[in-house]
């Protein structure tokens, strides 16, 4: 009996250590580090595919497959009041980029609905007239890889030749002034 208990306690301790190591690995992406590998569900809307320069087909895509110099990832949820409040600001950011001939083909945005189903993503998209692509993360798989961040959370990833990625912005909360944010992003990414 005692032996059984010792074995169980050992198993628990080992599992706990594995859990702790795994939690440490999944901290929010750090500026200057490569972007953790995430698999985003493939989009089926032709306009979204064209916006991101992705071929149709396949189940998933990766951030470094997007045709851009910088990809901004917005981790949000339809169920998050602060994300709801930030939606118009993200729309302004999207419009500012799309209306700028200098930035239009260089910066792209993708929204990731943490814990949201496809239906919930579409509901949010309609509610806030969101034009940028939104993908569901209904099982929190992506959310876990990016360190289970609070929402809204924004990560900007610089893409280089050979599929290299570098996180240049990683922060919780609203973006604030869009012009200031874009100016800083352009500088950090060396787009000028």
């Amino acid at each position: 009996m005692n032996r059984k208990i010792s074995v169980l306690i050992t198993v628990i301790l080992v599992l706990f250590m594995v859990s702790a190591i795994s939690a440490a690995e999944n901290s929010p992406p750090k500026v200057g580090s490569p972007m953790p590998a995430i698999e985003l569900p493939m989009l089926n809307n032709p306009a979204d595919l064209q916006y991101l320069g992705l071929p149709s087909g396949g189940k998933f895509f990766r951030v470094n497959q997007v045709k851009a110099k910088v990809v901004i990832l917005q981790i949000y949820s339809m169920y998050c009041p602060y994300c709801q409040a930030e939606a118009p600001n993200v729309n302004r950011l999207y419009a500012a980029i799309e209306n700028s001939p200098a930035l239009k083909d260089k910066i792209k945005i993708i929204g990731i609905g943490a814990g949201n189903t496809q239906f919930e993503v579409v509901t949010y998209k309609k509610k806030y007239s969101v034009e940028l692509p939104l993908v569901p993360d209904d099982d929190f798989k992506i959310h876990k890889v990016v360190g289970e961040v609070r929402t809204p959370y924004f990560i900007a990833v610089k893409l280089s030749d050979g599929g290299k990625t570098e996180v240049i912005y990683s922060r919780l909360g609203a973006l604030g002034d869009i012009d200031f944010f874009l100016k800083q992003l352009v500088t950090s990414a060396g787009l000028k």
């Binding site: 169920y79 709801q84 909360g173």
Partner: protein
């Protein structure tokens, strides 16, 4: 007994963190109870039966009776377990942006927990201005939840959705796993069936 205790420790280690209620709106104010028994009560109503009647006080100051809506509106009752807990805190903010879906299905939403009014007032204030009534089933404690058979043994309500048509007949019941949020599409599909 020992084995149960050990399994509980394992469950806590691996499932203690909860990705729900990640909204920064709640900051560090959410109490995480860890993984709970998915359902811990026995339903007392069935689809096709008349809904139990009730009258409860709302955070808005109104007194709400189910009969007030009968003959006029379909009703969705959303029981959630408790204020300031993970899944509950990001269920109603989602419903808060889809009043149009409820309106187009001629339905009202009534949110119910077993918390008292001051607690519900503080908690729902973090969600922004809610368009639906939030009712307190605090005293006699959980009496309405008990009528529906969704009062858990620890005194909180289940995470349960009831759709009641204009005639007062229960048309849909989802006593959901307390640890997970019901997908919105399931509720919308049931509402659309009432047309």
């Amino acid at each position: 007994m020992k084995r149960t205790a050990i399994m509980m420790v394992i469950a806590f280690c691996f499932f203690g963190s909860n990705a729900y209620a990640a909204s920064d709106a709640f900051k560090d104010n959410i109490y995480n109870p860890g993984q709970l028994k998915p359902v811990d009560s026995v339903l007392k109503v069935k689809v096709g039966q008349k809904s139990p009647q009730f009258t409860l006080k709302a955070v808005s100051g109104k007194t709400i009776s189910l009969k007030d809506y009968q003959g006029k509106k379909n009703i969705v009752i959303s029981f959630v377990p408790a204020a300031w807990t993970p899944v509950c805190s990001d269920q109603w903010p989602g419903y808060n942006i889809i009043s149009d879906i409820f309106e187009s299905n001629n339905a009202v939403l009534l949110g119910i927990t077993v918390d008292n009014i001051p607690t519900l007032f503080s908690w729902t204030n973090q969600m922004g201005k809610l368009w639906f009534e939030v009712l307190s089933d605090f005293w006699p404690h959980g009496a309405v939840a008990a009528k529906f058979g969704v009062l858990r043994k620890d005194g909180v309500a289940e995470r349960a959705l009831f759709v009641i048509d204009k005639k007062g007949i229960v048309r849909y019941i989802d006593v959901h796993n307390i640890n997970q949020r019901p997908p919105l599409e399931d509720l919308v599909r049931e509402l659309e069936k009432l047309k």
